[in-house]
């Protein structure tokens, strides 16, 4: 068996004195869509920030394509091929939509044209300042912006958060399309329905540790298990 695209082994991460992750290990194979599930504050975002080098883990190892990237600065992680879509979107509010995309451009397969094909709404908004977009438009823009860096692995942190159900359905289609194009995706979600539609495999996080890992189908079909793990 070939090595997974992303291999996170036993990472411990803390913000100052407050420890958040206690030995989290996950693997994501090339072309897979893997979902981190769990309630607010269990460490989903922290796991992503640890992978990205924004909050470097204190112990453990993160390897991407077999290379140890633990402790790398985030711009190097990004250049190595990991794209991060943060939970709070972090649009550059004073830059236009086009400028937001341009600063992320790294030269490669993704161009503004291709991004606009995926998110046609953005095409009409190129000259608009990022701060004036609606929540759904901002979410599209953050994903589009991250794609401009030509990632092989996309980290999506709660993309459905705070969006209207109709918008979420739309987003769902677009993420499915990215997956069909061969992009590897690690998704963090609280929205179980949304994520189980997309994911191949699932990890359930609880209090900074992995509580369950398995095929998404297992969780989808087993309501009792779903209740037990997520208490929804």
């Amino acid at each position: 068996m070939t090595a997974p695209l992303l291999e996170v082994s036993e990472i411990h991460t803390a913000y100052g004195l407050s420890r958040v992750l206690f030995g989290v290990s996950i693997e994501v194979g090339a072309g897979e869509c893997v979902c981190l599930l769990g309630r607010n504050g269990v460490g989903k975002s922290t796991t992503m920030r640890s992978i990205m080098g924004l909050t470097p883990p204190q112990a453990g190892r993160v390897a991407f394509k077999g290379v140890d990237i633990t402790g790398w600065e985030s711009y190097r992680v990004a250049r190595a091929g990991i794209g991060f879509v943060p939970e709070d979107r972090r649009i550059f509010a004073d830059l236009t939509v086009w400028e937001n995309l341009d600063v992320a451009q790294r030269g490669g397969g993704w161009t503004t044209e291709r991004v606009f094909d995926l998110f046609p709404t953005l095409r009409q908004l190129t000259g608009r300042n990022g701060g004036y977009l609606s929540g759904g438009e901002q979410q599209m823009l953050t994903i589009a912006r991250t794609l401009m860096g030509n990632p092989e692995l996309l980290l999506l942190d709660e993309p459905s958060e705070g969006l209207a159900p109709l918008v979420v359905d739309h987003l769902d289609e677009q993420i499915a399309r990215l997956k069909a194009e061969g992009l590897t995706i690690l998704l963090a979600e609280q929205n179980t329905e949304f994520s189980l539609r997309l994911a191949d495999r699932v990890y359930v996080l609880e209090k900074g540790a992995i509580r369950f890992s398995g095929a998404a189908a297992a969780l989808r079909d087993n309501e009792a298990l779903r209740h037990e793990l997520l208490a929804l």
Partner: protein
């Protein structure tokens, strides 16, 4: 107008790096001294003044780069008090170093021979060199604005001012970008000093004098706001000049009164924005 060059650098460093650089006036002074030194070696004739002025600014820019990389870098995100103490200490050290190198005597640079004439306007005499400085200010302002708005580096700089971490996660080496921003700001400060050297004597106290003026300019215009800085510099110049004309004893007071008024009515400056 040269004050705009200093204030623009100060405003740029604050806007992007979020550090108020008290040593910025010292860069301006060093620009003047470096130009003086180069003029001593090369003279001013045959267009060589322009080379020395550019050289002086480049020396300061290089020094700025070293200071950012090895010292300034540690200040980001720290308490303002530490930043102020550090940059103030840096100003003292650099100005003492300048005293050791060039002494406490006034140094003057002759005007470039191309611009020694003067123009008569409504009975007043304006030396060609001063006219050149007056025209250069807006030109540099415009060039600077074009770089910020229309180039990718400019977009990086604006994005970094808004959210450094996100820009880094998008694959931009923000550390290197910060160094270049600091170099650019030091260059502007040094250039201000270099170009002022034929108009005013270069003396050891000129750094603190100019930093206070630059502070007034950015406070009036709005710290971190580009056109605000430009406007602030214009207003400062007008108030000071007309103050000298009408109330010679109170001209400096008028400038500070204006600053106080701006602070009361719009604490974030005329074109600035309230901090979040």
């Amino acid at each position: 107008m040269f004050l705009f060059l200093i204030a623009a650098g100060l405003s740029l460093i604050f806007g992007v790096l979020r550090v108020l650089n008290f040593a910025h006036g010292t860069f301006y002074m060093l620009g003047a001294y470096a130009t003086y030194q180069l003029v001593q070696w090369m003279g001013v004739s045959g267009g060589r003044f322009w080379l020395t002025a550019l050289g002086g600014a480049l020396v300061v820019a290089a020094l700025g780069g070293l200071i950012e990389r090895f010292l300034f870098r540690r200040l980001y995100g720290k308490d303002e008090l530490y930043q102020l103490l550090f940059t103030y200490a840096l100003a003292l050290i650099l100005s003492d170093a300048a005293k050791m190198l060039w002494g406490t005597q006034q140094k003057s640079v002759s005007r470039p021979p191309e611009l020694t004439g003067a123009l008569h306007v409504f009975g007043a005499i304006i030396p060609h060199y001063n006219l050149f400085i007056i025209l250069l200010g807006p030109a540099i302002a415009l060039a600077f604005w074009v770089v910020l708005q229309r180039t990718r580096v400019g977009r990086y700089i604006r994005a970094a001012a808004l959210d450094r971490e996100t820009l880094g996660a998008l694959g931009v080496n923000v550390d290197a970008l910060y160094t270049w921003v600091f170099v650019l700001a030091s260059f502007l400060g040094g250039l201000g000093g270099a170009l002022i050297s034929p108009m005013r004597a270069t003396t050891p106290g000129m750094d603190t004098e100019v930093i206070v003026e630059a502070f007034v300019v950015v406070v009036i215009g709005g710290l971190g706001s580009f056109w605000g800085t430009f406007l602030g510099a214009l207003i400062y110049g007008q108030v000071l000049s007309f103050g000298i004309l009408f109330f010679p004893r109170f001209s400096i007071f008028a400038v500070f009164a204006l600053m106080a008024a701006v602070l009361i009515v719009r604490p974030w400056g005329l074109l600035g924005r309230p901090l979040r």
